[in-house]
Symmetry: C2
Subunit: 341 residues, 2 copies
């Protein structure tokens, strides 16, 4: 199925760590991100060829508002892990990247010490018109990084909206960073992000240790109050195995880093021992597939000539109240050739 | 467009209040709820004919867990309003009705005094395999009741899940009922229902007035703590115009009923004066149309022969990790004849 060029890319990618491998990794991700139809077909074949070699990394999602210290934590944690013999890939989901024409997340200049290491790979957020599109390319890039032997993949996102849900939906553990400031915590609760966090880290504890401790106590009691501990709908939040916990650290000073890694290892261990990791990943794959089907169906709808011809008038009629929304929906689906009610 | 039978139904429905009108109302709703394709087409024509006469009622959504006293409040409020010269239709959304083969909500025996009045119309929940299907039929029934001159439409639902979101999405005001018991409030917060409530009513205040007052204080402070007051994403929760408020009453004793109606009128007044009602209804129509398009597209996908042939194998491959979810999604969409990436 693979053409000669792509077969070479796959061979290079799955060879020993080298500059050749890193180049193949970057090239394959670029192929995945291309909007050309022929590239997409090649990328699918490459993905299929790589799939048996994927799934062996620990996938860690990290989120937090701008200024919380995500890059500092990722760089410090990345250096710490590479020192322990790991290989660390850092990917990013920045839904604003399609607007800005480029991403601030994953910018190499932000992680200067990490980005020069052979065992690190840092890739900025793909740009796409939709969050779903960005998330899809990041998920696929994660698989490619895994096939290249990176055993820890960190996916970071800015804490500004639905992107946290996307990141939690593609990682094994979701870490939410907070500032030692109660106001921000409430923002996170409001958006339903606190509910999906496996671990909450209060950063910059060195600046005001008292405020950090107050924030820790406040968030811990909020989690309890809101019943988010042991949320039965969240596979990893099985009360018997794991209570989402809150800890403080200083990413800049590296204080609390071994304790953070200890906690992450403990989480991994529990997930593996109880089959929760496998369950979470299966659920994620299933959800990913339906998401992409939904997005594709919507796309086909929007690009259908009969829909394009009818939609403006029917939307206007629904808007003016001269046609029921359900009737308009049925007209459009009939125009596409779908009989349904 | 209308055949003779349906034209007669429309004429009867839009005539003066009478037993003929009530029968036409019931018959048209039955037509809407039919799963026969020819019925559906007739129903669409009837809806289109009625649409100019719709939209003139006040649409009130009421939700709460089983046992909170919804039927008691609806009956008491309904009698109070009919006494003031209104005509009251009560519809229901019970997502479990398709399982039980019938609905406990809207059961006539529950509202004995209300159901016998000429100016009341009570209809149990339609049964359908999906919440979206139930909600659609209820929305359409609401339009028919409006065309029959009912100026207050109450849509009730059990407080057990997504159905509250559906009811809030089709009404002008969403009222959440609570028991004087702090544990239940937290349940509601967890599901994101508190966030969409325009008014929270603590019922059964007669049994333990102190507990009711404590619950009122607790919910009021929770709303403030969680930033749900003046939620800018919620059209009616514009801080300048309306703060979701909490009040106590006893539906059984009728204590607090005039105050409740006073508060509802104040809400209506503010919504009308500030164009929020129109904005909310437009947004609801738009969302309803996309919901139905999405449901129809999914339906067409699931019933497509090529999809049915490929889906089991592709799903199994994704589940076993031998194919990326995005690749499987693209294969299925291609099989339907959609080219996309």
């Amino acid at each position: 199925m693979l053409n000669v060029v792509d077969q070479t890319l796959v061979n290079d990618l799955t060879s020993e760590p080298s500059s050749l491998q890193r180049r193949a990794l970057a090239k394959i991700i670029t192929l995945l991100e291309s909007t050309r139809m022929d590239h997409r077909k090649r990328a699918d074949d490459v993905l299929n060829a790589l799939l048996p070699k994927t799934g062996k990394s620990f996938r860690l999602g990290i989120s937090g508002v701008p200024g919380v210290g995500k890059s500092t934590l990722i760089e410090t944690l990345g250096l710490y892990l590479i020192n322990k013999g790991h290989r660390v890939a850092v990917l990013a989901i920045d839904p604003s990247s399609s607007l800005s024409g480029g991403s601030i997340l994953g910018d190499k200049t932000r992680m200067e010490r990490l980005s020069v290491l052979d065992n690190a790979f840092i890739r900025p957020s793909p740009s796409s018109c939709t969050l779903g599109g960005v998330a899809e390319k990041t998920r696929e890039a994660m698989l490619v990084a895994e096939a290249a032997g990176f055993d820890i993949v960190i996916v970071e996102t800015v804490g500004v909206g639905q992107s946290e849900i996307a990141v939690a939906g593609m990682t094994d553990m979701f870490l939410l960073m907070q500032l030692p400031n109660a106001g921000d915590d409430l923002q996170a609760i409001k958006k339903g992000v606190m509910e999906i966090a496996d671990l909450i880290v209060i950063n910059k504890a060195d600046i005001d240790p008292d405020a950090a401790m107050r924030a820790q106590l406040f968030i811990t009691s909020s989690l309890r109050l809101l019943g988010f501990q042991g949320n039965p709908e969240h596979a990893s939040h099985n009360q018997e195995f794991w209570h989402p916990t809150v800890m403080t650290l200083s990413a800049l000073e590296g204080v609390g880093l071994p304790e953070l890694w200890e906690k992450i290892l403990r989480f991994q261990e529990l997930q593996n021992a109880n089959g929760l990791l496998q369950a979470r990943r299966k659920a994620q794959s299933g959800a990913w597939m339906s998401d992409r089907i939904d997005a594709g169906l919507k796309n086909a709808f929007q690009n259908h000539p009969a829909v394009q011809a009818l939609l403006p008038d029917l939307s206007a009629q629904v808007n003016q109240g001269t046609m029921a929304a359900s009737v308009a929906a049925r007209r459009l689906l009939e125009a596409m050739g779908h009989e349904f009610f």
